[in-house]
């Protein structure tokens, strides 16, 4: 409940300041426009559109999700949060905020993408939805803990994508594979290994994040 209250505070704050929402919306629009302009009238393969979807998602996440902790550090309110709740409550609240933001962002990207790219056709919708949900969860948990780490650094902007790349790489590679299967129309039963990898990734990242956060949060 305390974590949900922190989420509500962050959401209320986001609606007032629009730190993350504006950055994400602009990034999504600009990236998709650049891809559209660079393709022109060329017909690109279905697999390539599937790959580009996760490239857009990865870089959009890089542009907005660090705000969860960076904005607190920049405004000097980190100490205020430390005085209000335990580290696990803070992490859960921030994770919830990033989770909602990732889902909203990725739903918007996928809808835009489906409308603008003819060759992006998903034949196995159930498989894509499972990959989408597990992938979003993984992106949210990873980006939250990375944001907590980089918020203490002086060069936050450059450090975030650099640190995110190796951590998110196994997740993105698995998602690319599953998207390819979903485009091919493969059955869910044929993709259980990749789905298991996603579940393991999410569980490991979540557990490691809760264990690590105490040390990151206390100077």
């Amino acid at each position: 409940m305390k974590a949900y209250s922190l989420f509500k505070k962050d959401w209320h704050s986001e609606l007032r300041t629009r730190y993350a929402i504006n950055a994400l919306a602009m990034f999504i629009l600009v990236t998709i426009s650049v891809i559209l302009f660079s393709i022109g009238n060329e017909k690109i393969s279905e697999y390539l559109t599937g790959g580009l979807l996760w490239v857009v998602i990865f870089f959009s996440a890089m542009s907005g999700l660090s705000r969860a902790f960076v904005s607190e550090e920049e405004r000097g309110t980190t100490l205020t949060l430390q005085l209000l709740a335990s580290p696990s409550t803070i992490f859960t609240g921030k994770f919830l905020f990033n989770l909602v933001l990732v889902f909203l962002m990725n739903i918007a990207i996928t809808i835009l993408y489906s409308a603008l790219f003819e060759s992006f056709v998903i034949r196995s919708l159930d498989l894509f939805l499972i990959a989408f949900v597990l992938g979003n969860f993984g992106i949210a948990v990873s980006s939250t803990i990375i944001a907590a780490i980089i918020s203490k650094a002086s060069s936050k902007g450059t450090l975030y994508p650099v640190l995110s790349f190796p951590i998110l790489l196994p997740l993105i590679l698995t998602l690319l594979e599953l998207t390819k299967f979903a485009i091919d129309g493969d059955a869910l039963a044929d993709s259980w290994v990749e789905i298991a990898v996603l579940v393991c990734y999410d569980v490991i990242m979540l557990t490691a994040s809760y264990l690590l956060f105490d040390f990151i949060w206390k100077d």
Partner: protein, 211 residues
């Protein structure tokens, strides 16, 4: 009401290769006002943060007790009120919204009667609907006291409590410190003589700097 006791046992803090202070041992009990003094950069704020559980010690132990019950670090924030110049509230919210969110994150319902009294005491009642970004530095400092006292904490740590305050504000703070110290433990970290005059006992951080 159970007494609040705090014991510092050989508390040492080192940042990198710089020794901030070494082996501070002290017992503090509710009903008293304790001071932490020292020059600028001597480590007063560091000690205040360590007592508040915000930063860890390099070595040594701190124990918070209410009566016979030991307070675990994860629950310390429920019993703690903290004011300092490096504490910031949310500028995009007004005073009431700030306090509402803080109460909810603490897991309590806002005590509106207490909050109203605090607004009156700190002369902010007519500005409580204004966003904090429109507040002067003195008003923000007074707002920090309301934040610190909102949940009736047993341990109050005031780091430079009168910075940015006018004479009226200072008088209100001194009156509040006297009142709160009757049942609670109050620690004042400052190098202002007028702040330290209130204290029953003072720790001089400068004395704990020798290697």
């Amino acid at each position: 009401m159970n007494s609040y006791n705090l014991s510092l046992n050989n508390v040492t803090k080192i940042f990198g290769r710089r020794l901030v202070f070494k082996k501070i041992s002290f017992e503090m009990n509710s009903g008293n006002i304790y001071g932490v003094s020292g020059n600028n950069g001597s480590g007063k704020s560091t000690l205040a943060k360590i007592i508040a559980g915000v930063i860890s010690t390099s070595s040594g132990k701190i124990e918070h007790m209410i009566g016979e019950k030991k307070i675990i670090p994860e629950e310390l924030h429920d019993h703690l009120g903290f004011v300092s110049p490096y504490l910031f509230l949310y500028d995009e919210f007004n005073a009431e919204e700030n306090l509402y969110h803080f109460a909810k994150i603490r897991g309590i319902n806002p005590d509106n009667e207490r909050i109203e009294r605090l607004f009156e005491l700190f002369n902010l009642a007519d500005r409580k609907k204004d966003l904090l970004k429109g507040y002067s530095s003195g008003m923000k400092q007074r707002m920090k006291f309301i934040f610190a006292l909102q949940h009736s904490p047993r341990l109050l740590i005031f780091d430079e409590p009168t910075s940015n305050l006018d004479n009226k504000g200072k008088a209100a703070v001194y009156q509040l410190i006297e009142e709160e110290s009757k049942d609670n433990l109050v620690i004042v970290a400052s190098n202002e003589d007028s702040d330290l005059e209130l204290c029953t006992s003072v720790i001089d951080v400068e004395q704990y700097k020798k290697k």
